[in-house]
């Protein structure tokens, strides 16, 4: 069933029992996520948390010298701003919109109060935190052990899982920033994937032509993250049973 323009487009909100979602509804504000928008700055205060309905938000770790690397991506399966309810107040990473979409946002005071009630939302968000930890862990490992081409495959697949089509709007420079590598490296790796017929890359648009082959080429990191996220994101109603 397709849900149009509803908080239920976000899987976390959709997994809430009806009564809890109803209680939150008056506070949920739908906002656009324009490409490139910075939702949080590293070290900055957070006034809202965001539940994406569509699009992708990239969490980037920013070094002192300004270099950055992506540590996780968040789409409609998740939420941006967990530092708020984890008591961190400020976030150690920068959150940037990597693929345009929209989100439902909640004010800091509302999410904190709701989290403190210790009901379904708290359980869901804590489980989501674990899947985010797995994603970060796997990124750390992948950066250390796998070649750029595998990392690019992982990145493409994680993005595709969060998008409605097989197309990504993305420049090579942006991918390089996400992966924390030089643009030439991305060009080379993307060129090989294109030559082998896995993707088609033109004017800042990537079309994935053969997803199955991409999954063959990717390192195990993608499957680990995917499995963990599928396992943890069981609807609240199923857990209560």
């Amino acid at each position: 069933m397709r849900t149009r323009r509803s908080p239920k487009q976000n899987h976390l909100l959709a997994a809430l029992p009806a009564a809890e979602l109803l209680r939150l509804s008056p506070h949920l504000e739908r906002v656009p996520l324009p490409l490139g928008a910075v939702i949080y700055e590293s070290g900055g205060e957070q006034d809202y948390v965001y539940f994406p309905a569509s699009g992708i938000v990239s969490l980037l770790y920013v070094m002192n010298d300004g270099a950055s690397a992506e540590i996780a991506v968040v789409g409609s399966e998740g939420m941006v701003g967990i530092a708020l309810f984890m008591g961190g107040e400020t976030t150690p990473s920068r959150a940037v919109v990597q693929s345009a979409g929209s989100a439902y946002r909640l004010e800091a005071t509302v999410i904190k109060a709701e989290f403190a009630r210790g009901e379904a939302l708290q359980r869901l968000l804590l489980r989501y935190t674990q899947s985010l930890i797995t994603q970060m862990t796997q990124t750390a490992v992948c950066n250390r052990h796998h070649v750029l081409e595998q990392q690019l495959c992982r990145w493409l697949l994680l993005s595709l899982d969060r998008l409605p089509s097989n197309q990504l709007v993305m420049t090579q420079q942006l991918i390089a920033n996400m992966l924390g590598v030089r643009r030439e490296g991305v060009t080379e790796a993307a060129g090989r994937l294109q030559a082998d017929g896995l993707i088609n890359y033109r004017r800042g648009r990537i079309n994935v032509l053969d997803r199955a082959k991409l999954e063959e080429r990717v390192c195990e990191c993608y499957a680990v993250v995917r499995r963990e996220s599928d396992r943890l994101m069981v609807p609240e109603t199923a857990l209560a049973a």
Partner: protein, 256 residues
Amino acid sequence: MDAILNSLLAALPRRSYLRLLPGLTPVELVFGEVLYESGQVIRDVYFPTQSLVSLLTLVEGHLALEVGLVGREGMVGIPLALGIDVSPVRALVQGAGPALKMSAARFRTELRRSPPLQRELDRYIHAMMAQISQTAACNRFHVVEARLARWLLMTRDRVRSGEFRMTHEFLSHMLGVRRVGVTEAASALQRQKLIEYSRGNIRILDDRGLEAACCSCYGIVKDMHDAAPLPSLGAFAQRAAWAANTSATQAVRRLA
């Protein structure tokens, strides 16, 4: 009453701590012991008091990289605090010594009835996530020498001693590099008279110098953890347990 050696427990209001106490059993963690295997159900949580536990990820079944280091500032078993009963990583005792253990069932009960415990754990988990994301970025940008320096300082902070046993092979798993890479980096630090490294024994000679040699990642994560107060410690029995460790290499081989 004795000082509370684990700072997560020490940060709890007295009443919450006293209620936890009957459920905490003192244990001696043995070097090389696997507390959890990746993918296994977590049976107990551990609050290290004078021990050190590495959280390691595996790639294709082999030890690949340390993604977290837990000492007196934390708890081993955070998935349980997040409502998950399976550990995604291997938890390996890297510094032998005492810890307080609590069964998973008891821990879940305590967590439900103690909001202060949940709050402290959330804060700790947040700091832990900073440690993991910084590890990811550090692996991308920083050279082995800086990462080794950071790792030595993190270990020092958690065991409160500048001397510990550590083989090249063990370090290579921690840092996710080949042994020769560790050898080169350790020699470089030794040439600069920052450390002394012989027969698997590492001694930090110059704390300031080592801090200058490591990447910015160390300071960032330390600040996050320091947000929680650490109990002050007297002169603890210097590393008797550490010196008695079996060979790290053997342990890793056995476990890998």
